[in-house]
Symmetry: C2
Subunit: 139 residues, 2 copies
Amino acid sequence: MPTCPLCTPEHETILWQDTNCRIILVPDVHYGGFCRVIWKVHVKEMSDLGAKQRQHFMAVVFGVEEVLRETLRPDKINLASLGNQVPHLHWHVIPRFADDAHFPDPIWATAQRTGQTHAVDPVVLMQRLSMRLGEPLQG
Amino acid sequence: MPTCPLCTPEHETILWQDTNCRIILVPDVHYGGFCRVIWKVHVKEMSDLGAKQRQHFMAVVFGVEEVLRETLRPDKINLASLGNQVPHLHWHVIPRFADDAHFPDPIWATAQRTGQTHAVDPVVLMQRLSMRLGEPLQG
């Protein structure tokens, strides 16, 4: 899909990838460890994937959750597949903290405070994702 | 957890359940087919479950997605596990329409319009969930 920003990405920080999906670090000033897991093929809904593909995709999403928990010790992990604006399957994996800008509301609600950003080193995430999920596909 | 509203629920419309989880219809005036899949045991994060439990939970979530798609033909399905307010695992499965109150934003953002409600008959959902997921546990 030439008009889809997830089919023709620009300036992504890719933390890990295999042939099916890639994990990127979301450039969000409020949420340091916010990751996105993107299915490489332009597919709209989880139920458009086969059972094995769904299972693989979720295993990667839960791997990101585990790495963010061990790296950042957040108060909660938020997972969401929305895609109303970009109907190309992607999962938001968001480490949440009691002192972040929106807690305890979802990050899409009105901010409650300026909020603390909990920074994370992308290289550490890359290393831990490789340990958890296996060596990434290069390129 | 006696203080947890998902451990001691009141006035739930249960559409389907097994020994591990239950599916309820969320009483949301804007979102007729909004379902929630609740893990019965008080567990905080998906990565606190074992791999088989996670897989079962997600299979139920994707079953709800399929039933909502065939019943309501929404423009998009939104899936989310947040739990900042109630840290007891539950998945939101939300059928979204271009003319609903928040589209294309998430339902937690500021409403953009009054919005159309796309009503659904709970009995139809119950029947289709049983066909998709198997006979529900009674009680």
